[in-house]
C-alpha cells in the first residue's frame, strides 16, 4: 500500500501546475470563449507531452493508468483550464483500443497533441443512459449510412475526428447492437451547431442526415461497442472527478484567503466560529472526495463490477461534495463570490456542471444500489 506519487508523476504534476498556473490567464480564457479553447495552451500542453500521460506504452503513450489521469486532470481542474483533454481521453482511448492499423494513426497524432477529438454518444433522449442509442447506421454498399442526432457533444465542432456511436441492430435501449464509427472533420451530411458551455469550452448539436461512410469508418466489431463505451466512460468519470477535485482545491484556497483578509464587524470573517466550522466541513469533504477519486483511479483496471461500483460511488460522492464546495465557497464570499470578475465564479460554475455529465449524484446513488444488489 502506497499513496505516494511515483517520481515521474510527481514531475508531471509539478510541471503542469507551474505551466497552467501561468498560462491560464484572463486573456487565454477570453480567447477560449469563442473558440472553445486557447490554441496557445493546447500547444503548450502538447509541448509538455501531457497527452502521452493518457495513453499506455502499448498505445504509444507513457501512462494511461488511473493515477496518471488523476494527476493530469486534477491540475487542469485546479487551473480551470478549458482545453478538451477529456475528449482526447474519451475518444482517443476508444480508437487506441478498437482501431485498426490505419485508425491507430490518429492515436499517434493524439499522443503528440496534434489532433483534437470528440466522442459523439449522447442523444436528445438519452440523458445518462449509456445504452440508449437511437442513431442508426445502415449498411449501404460497402459502407454505412448514419442517421440521427447527437447532443451536447463537447468539442464537437472543433474536433479533427469524431467517434460516433450508432445502432446497427437491436432495440433503442439494448446493450447489444451499438457500433462505433470514426468520422473525420468535414464529412458531408453532418450539420453542426456550435455553442459555449456554462463550465467553459464548447459543445455541439450534431445532426447526421444520411451521412455516408466507407467500410473503414467502422471502429471495432459491429454491434459490440457497449463494453468499450462503458470502459471509456469509467475512465472519463475518473478524469472529470479528478478535475472537480482540483477545482475544489482552488475554490477552498480562494475561500481560505478571503476568510483571512476580508474584515466585517471589525475582524477577519475567518475568526467567526460558524465560518471556521463550515470551512472545516468543506475540508473534510474535499478529503473524502480525494479518497473517492483515489478509489476509482485505483480500480479502473479491476473486473467490470468492481470498477463500476467505484464509478458510481465516486461520481455520487464527488458530485455531492462539488455542490457543497461550490455553494459554500460562494456563500462564504458573499456578493463578490457571485461576480464574473472574481476568479471563484468560473470554478463554481465548473463544479456546478459536474453533475450534468456522466450521471449526477442521485443517478449514481441508484446505480450503486443496483450494482450492489446484483
Amino acid at each position: 500500500m502506497n499513496f505516494q506519487l511515483t517520481e515521474e508523476r510527481q514531475m508531471l504534476q509539478d510541471g503542469l501546475r507551474r505551466y497552467l498556473g501561468e498560462a491560464v490567464t484572463p486573456q487565454a480564457l477570453e480567447a477560449a470563449q469563442t473558440t472553445g479553447m486557447s490554441p496557445d495552451i493546447w500547444a503548450g500542453l502538447s509541448e509538455m507531452g501531457v497527452a502521452g500521460a493518457l495513453f499506455t506504452e502499448d498505445q504509444g503513450g507513457f501512462g494511461g493508468a488511473g493515477f496518471d489521469l488523476m494527476v493530469v486532470f486534477e491540475e487542469l481542474g485546479r487551473a480551470g483550464a478549458v482545453e478538451p483533454m477529456l475528449e482526447l481521453l474519451l475518444a482517443g482511448r476508444l480508437v487506441a483500443e478498437l482501431g485498426d492499423e490505419t485508425q491507430q494513426e490518429i492515436v499517434a497524432q493524439a499522443v503528440e497533441g496534434a489532433v483534437q477529438l470528440a466522442f459523439a454518444h449522447g442523444e436528445p433522449a438519452s440523458r445518462f443512459d449509456l445504452e440508449r442509442v437511437e442513431t442508426r447506421a445502415e449498411r449501404s454498399g460497402d459502407g454505412w449510412t448514419l442517421t440521427g442526432r447527437k447532443s451536447v457533444v463537447v468539442n464537437g465542432a472543433q474536433a479533427d475526428h469524431i467517434v460516433v456511436s450508432a445502432r446497427t441492430s437491436g432495440d433503442v435501449a439494448d446493450r447489444d447492437g451499438i457500433s462505433l464509427f470514426l468520422l473525420p472533420k468535414g464529412t458531408a451530411g453532418i450539420e453542426i451547431r456550435d455553442y459555449p458551455l456554462s463550465q467553459g469550452g464548447h459543445a455541439a448539436e450534431i445532426v447526421l442526415d444520411g451521412v455516408t461512410l466507407p467500410a473503414g469508418a467502422l471502429l471495432g466489431a459491429e454491434g459490440q461497442a457497449f463494453e468499450a463505451i462503458e470502459t471509456a466512460q469509467a475512465r472519463a468519470t475518473a478524469a472529470i472527478c479528478a478535475d472537480a477535485l482540483g477545482a475544489m482545491e482552488t475554490a477552498r484556497a480562494l475561500t481560505g484567503d478571503y476568510l483571512k483578509t476580508r474584515k466585517q464587524f471589525g475582524q477577519p470573517i475567518g475568526k467567526f466560529q460558524a465560518l471556521q466550522h463550515r470551512a472545516a466541513d468543506m475540508l473534510i469533504e474535499i478529503e473524502q472526495a480525494r479518497s473517492a477519486v483515489i478509489n476509482l483511479c485505483g480500480h479502473l483496471e479491476a473486473d467490470r463490477d468492481t470498477r463500476e461500483i467505484h464509478v458510481s460511488a465516486t461520481k455520487h460522492l464527488v458530485g455531492k461534495v462539488a455542490r457543497l464546495v461550490a455553494e459554500e465557497a460562494i456563500q462564504m464570499h458573499g456578493g463578490i463570490g457571485m461576480t464574473e470578475e472574481y476568479d471563484l465564479g468560473r470554478f463554481a460554475r465548473r463544479l456546478s456542471m459536474l453533475d450534468q455529465r456522466f450521471g449526477d449524484a442521485t443517478f449514481h446513488l441508484g446505480r450503486f444500489v443496483r450494482l450492489r444488489a446484483a
Binding site: 436528445p124 451536447v152 435501449a173 456554462s198 457571485m338 461576480t339 456546478s352 441508484g366
Partner: protein, 398 residues
C-alpha cells in the same frame, strides 16, 4: 385555529385571478414561464396595467393612491401573480422608498414623488451597500457635505439592482463622523442624471449585468432631497428593511418553481421512464415539497399575525432562511432535472424572439442561469448567517 380563507379572501382571490386572465399580456407571461429576460419596457408596461386598476401599490394606504391591502390580501395577490408568471413589481420605488416617504417624508416630498412612482415617471434604485461592507450596512463611507443649499456627495455604492434602468437613487450617506456609526447617516434622494454620477455594470455568474456599481464624484444634491432629519437616516433605513420583509419567504416563487420542476421531471426520461418515476429523484422533489408545505404555513402564521397588527420580529428571519434554502433547492433540482441540457449556455436564447433558439427543450435553457443567479438569495437582504445570528440573539437570547 382555522386554515381556510374567509369568503371575502376567496372572493378577492377570484377577482385577482379574473384580472390576470384579462389583463396580463400573454407576451409577458410567456417570458416568465420560459425564464426569458424582461426589458425595462416590460416592467413599465405591467406597472401601468396594475396602476390603472389601482393595484400597483398594494401596501400603500389609499390616501396615497395605494390599494391599502392587509398582509393576507397582499399574500393572495403575490400568490396569484407569481402563479400566473406575471413580471414582479419592481420593489425599489413601490415597496421600499414609498413607505419611507409616507412615514418620514415632508408633505412636499410626498406630493411630488409618490405620484411619480405610481405613474412610472421615475425608476428608482437602492443605494445602500458599499464595497467591503457586506451585511454591515451601518459602515457607510459615502459622504454628503453641506455646501449652501446643496449636499456634495462623494463615494461609491454597489450591488445596485437594475441600476442601469434607474434615473433616481435613494442613498444612505454619511453626514457626520461623530458618535456611533449609526448616528451620522442621512437618507438622500439623488438624480442619477446629475453630473458626477457614473454607473458600471457588474456581470454575475449567470452572465447577466443585473447589479451595478454607482459612483458619486462631487455630485451636488439640493437639500430638499433630504428625507426626514439629517443624521437620522439609520432609523428610516431600518424601517425600510422591515418593509422589504413582506413576502420574504417567497412562497409564490417557490410554488411556481416547484410546479415547473415537476413538469420538467414528467417530461424528462431516465431509464425509459419519466424522471419523476425515479424513486430517488421523486423523493428529492417530495422532500422539498414537504418543506415548502410547512414553510407556507409558517408564512401564513406570520402574515396572519401581521394582518392582525402584530409586527413580525425574528420570525421574518426564520422565513428568510428557510424560504431561500427551499427556493435554492428547487433551483438545484431543476438544474438536475434537465440533465446534460443544463450545460449549453446560449445567452441569446434568453431573449424573446431571438434568432438563436435554445439548445434542447425550451424549459431547460434557464435552469442553470436561475440556479446560479439565485445563489444571491442567501446572500442579499441580510445574509442567512446574519439572520441566524439575529434569531439566536432575539429569540434564544444568546
Amino acid at each position: 385555529m382555522d386554515l381556510s380563507f374567509t369568503e371575502e379572501q376567496k372572493a378577492f382571490r377570484a377577482e385577482v385571478r379574473r384580472f390576470l386572465d384579462e389583463k396580463l399580456p400573454k407576451r409577458l407571461s410567456d417570458k416568465g414561464r420560459l425564464g426569458q429576460r424582461l426589458t425595462k419596457q416590460d416592467y413599465e408596461e405591467w406597472h401601468a396595467i396594475l396602476n390603472e386598476k389601482g393595484w400597483l401599490a398594494g401596501n400603500w394606504p389609499k390616501e396615497h393612491g395605494g390599494a391599502g391591502w392587509n398582509a393576507v390580501e397582499r399574500h393572495i395577490f403575490e400568490e396569484e401573480t407569481t402563479a400566473a408568471h406575471a413580471p414582479r413589481i419592481v420593489p425599489f420605488g413601490l415597496a421600499m422608498l414609498g413607505p419611507v416617504l409616507q412615514k418620514f417624508g415632508s408633505k412636499e416630498q410626498q406630493d411630488y414623488w409618490l405620484p411619480r412612482i405610481l405613474n412610472g415617471d421615475d425608476w428608482w434604485c437602492q443605494g445602500y451597500s458599499e464595497p467591503g461592507a457586506g451585511s454591515d450596512l451601518a459602515s457607510v463611507k459615502t459622504t454628503a457635505e453641506r455646501d449652501g443649499d446643496h449636499y456634495v456627495v462623494n463615494g461609491q455604492k454597489t450591488w445596485t439592482t437594475l441600476g442601469q434602468y434607474a434615473n433616481m437613487i435613494f442613498c444612505l450617506v454619511r453626514t457626520s463622523k461623530e458618535g456611533k456609526p449609526q448616528e451620522g447617516i442621512s437618507f438622500l434622494l439623488v438624480d442619477m442624471n446629475d453630473p458626477g454620477v457614473t454607473v458600471r455594470p457588474i456581470v454575475l455568474l449567470d452572465g447577466e449585468p443585473e447589479v451595478n456599481e454607482v459612483f458619486f464624484d462631487n455630485v451636488r444634491v439640493p437639500v430638499e432631497n433630504l428625507v426626514g432629519e439629517e443624521n437620522k437616516g439609520w432609523t428610516y433605513a431600518k424601517y425600510l428593511l422591515t418593509h422589504e420583509r413582506t413576502n420574504i419567504a417567497g412562497v409564490g416563487f417557490a410554488n411556481a418553481g416547484l410546479a415547473n420542476l415537476k413538469r420538467i421531471a414528467r417530461l424528462e426520461q431516465s431509464g425509459g421512464r419519466p424522471l419523476i418515476e425515479d424513486p430517488l429523484f421523486a423523493a428529492k422533489i417530495a422532500e422539498v415539497e414537504i418543506s415548502l408545505m410547512a414553510m407556507a404555513t409558517t408564512n401564513l402564521r406570520v402574515v396572519s399575525a401581521a394582518a392582525a397588527g402584530q409586527a413580525p420580529g425574528a420570525e421574518s428571519s426564520m422565513l428568510k432562511v428557510k424560504g431561500t434554502v427551499i427556493r435554492q433547492e428547487i433551483n438545484a433540482l431543476t438544474k438536475q432535472a434537465v440533465g446534460p441540457w443544463a450545460m449549453p449556455f446560449v445567452s441569446e436564447a434568453l431573449e424573446a424572439g431571438s434568432n438563436e433558439g435554445p439548445v434542447g427543450p425550451s424549459y431547460a435553457m434557464s435552469a442553470t442561469p436561475h440556479y446560479l443567479n439565485n445563489r444571491k438569495l442567501s446572500i442579499y437582504g441580510g445574509s442567512n448567517e446574519v439572520q441566524k445570528t439575529i434569531i439566536a440573539k432575539a429569540i434564544l437570547e444568546l
